[in-house]
Symmetry: C2
Subunit: 378 residues, 2 copies
């Protein structure tokens, strides 16, 4: 036997304690002690009776959060981007076309994913062509711009043209109303680490009967085995098969945490959650304007209550502001992303973080940052 040529790394031979921080960026948000404790429960097998019961409960919780009765409702064993790929990989076959509303970074990413698998991605911002589109991608809460997009009516329009309506609600779900069934949404997904306050790593997703009709009658297999809905639907007990066949090992402890986060949402009540996010966001926006800061989204109705975009204060380097607030207050707020990079500050108030107490904290931190950070231009 050879001897070791790479020795145990020194950095691993001492503990690395993690600091407590107020997470008011666009996510991940803080994880309440109850969810963290759930995730630390004993390990079970990915197909044990109790795990299956937990998965069934997660399914019910997602149906409630999404307001859907869709049978094919589950959590992807990965972050939001894996759910985005799951939606696109399964609903499209090579050569088919997807219409993507690009209103921020998420539409761009959807297009990037769709193009890689050999589908034709038609941006709304490009002149339209007569291609038959089978899927329309729309972002509900665009966390890069801080806009909540109206959903009503789009489902009907899509269905008139035999097109599936696919909605990304990663940054919005649980914080602002959406009704999957009533609004005719065919595929919707979210992330665990936003309003739900679970750690990142699982992503709730649901498919309508119309979506399943197309997906389960594909001519070709989806490009990914790991994200193949035929397998996932069986693993989550969403099909007619009598047993769940081993597909992959689900992130069991992450499922414990996700269940707990959905339990908190069920206890709180969706309507109460929507109301609180709205009130807290309005309280925040009022405070920002009183401080002389400008909101990036002028139309009040278009403001996403979970993630607020503030016009980067003129004369300041936004990096210095977020750095000051992190260093002095141990609070995370962030700069822009994709199309809003350099233009805005972003503050997330999601789930347990959506409280007036947190608003007061971040307003104070912002006021102090504007006092202490270098102002060069006007």
């Amino acid at each position: 036997m050879s001897s070791l040529s790479v020795l145990p790394p020194e950095c691993l031979l001492q503990p690395f304690p993690v600091p407590q921080r107020l997470m008011l960026g666009p996510g991940p948000s803080n994880v309440p002690a109850r969810i963290a404790a759930a995730g630390a429960q004993p390990m079970l097998g990915h197909l044990h009776t109790e795990t299956i019961e937990i998965m069934n409960q997660i399914k019910s919780g997602i149906q409630y959060a999404f307001q859907t009765r869709n049978r094919v409702t589950l959590a992807v064993s990965g972050p939001g981007h894996a759910a985005m790929e799951c939606a696109i990989f399964n609903s499209l076959e090579p050569g088919e076309s997807i219409l993507i509303a690009v209103n921020g970074i998420w539409g761009e990413r959807a297009a990037e994913i769709a193009e890689r698998i050999g589908t034709d991605s038609v941006f709304t911002r490009k002149p339209g062509t007569k291609i038959y589109k089978v899927v329309f991608f729309f972002t509900h809460g665009e966390s890069s711009t801080g806009v909540v997009h109206p959903i009503d009516g789009i489902g009907d329009l899509c269905h008139k043209y035999k097109c599936l309506f696919l909605v990304d609600s990663v940054a919005a779900l649980g914080g602002t109303p959406i009704f999957m069934d009533e609004q005719g949404i065919d595929i919707m997904y979210t992330g665990s680490q936003k309003v739900l306050n679970a750690p990142p790593g699982t992503a709730p997703i649901s498919f309508s009967e119309r979506a399943c009709q197309k997906i389960f009658n594909r001519r070709t297999k989806p490009i990914s085995y790991f994200l193949d809905l035929n397998w996932l639907a069986n693993y989550w007990g969403c099909d007619d098969k009598p047993v769940r066949v081993y597909h992959h090992t689900g992130p069991v402890s992450s499922f414990y945490g996700l269940r707990e986060s959905l339990a908190i949402l069920a206890e709180t009540g969706l309507e109460n959650s929507w109301k609180r996010h709205k009130e807290v966001a309005e309280y925040f926006h009022k405070g920002l304007e009183e401080m002389g800061l400008k909101l990036f989204v002028q139309d009040k109705k278009a403001r996403l209550p979970t993630v607020t975009t503030i016009v980067a204060p003129p004369g300041y380097d936004w990096r210095e502001i977020t750095g000051y607030i992190m260093k002095t207050y141990n609070i995370e707020i962030s700069g822009g992303l994709g199309p809003s990079a350099g233009m805005v500050l972003r503050v997330g108030l999601m789930g347990c973080n959506s409280s007036k107490a947190n608003v007061d904290k971040v307003l104070e931190a912002l006021a102090e940052a504007l006092k202490h950070c270098h102002k060069s231009r006007v």
Copy 2:
């Protein structure tokens, strides 16, 4: 605003405590309190300074566990199957060929994945053709059969034919020797939930310079954005770029747990871990034979120390045996998988579960099961 049509599910309005169970199946294994506690630490941002430091430490820990100095070493934000797809999606372009050694279920799965992305997958069990193969897939520890495959010499042979050597060490890593650099392995991955004893949901992976040469000079983009090594290498600080760009939100708490599991391995020492797994497995095998049970793998040197396959006792229904042991002893052991389904019982002794005390428990449970379960045939 519409009112809710789906009400909060009753099942979520009460707690769901998870039982303690001895996990002696082929994985996930038990998670030591120290790793569970690490995972329950406060949430941080996926690009915060401390998170990046933790990711750097994970990288060092994987380099130690794999015995490699590869710069492109990281953990995939998903289970082992995501790592398998990451390896295949990145190393192969459409139209290229992969040679797969099918010695159990994992080769079959690799072939399934390779075929979906339009590559030509050549099984060793089919007659060879003169196709130029760019990747050779080989499973180190085949958990379906309980065989550990010899690795020496294969790397050199692959390189002679300008082929990359890809090794799946999900079920073996940390429990039996492997030297990635010295054995000329170009791509290797494992899972977090086997010998490492972390919860499932992250998958260490590493790429040699030779593999990177091919991957970073592809003509086409890998089929998956989420698993694109160009992005992942940047997120994990494995490239020359000065900043880490947002790609996806990593499973931060799972990274805490993975770091802790690698810390335990570094403290234990790889050689001690290999030695313990070997001794405990031999102690187990001796006990099984004394009980009159037959090992599925006759050649002692070919026995995987992490997962033991036992010939399903003649006259019994294996399901009754695993069911009895689960019900009476709260111990998980499992049946076969894929090609070994119905033929074997499988017992995993991985990481913290690899102890003589656990062997004594499972031997007692097996003996009692053979006494109490129905024996119909001889």
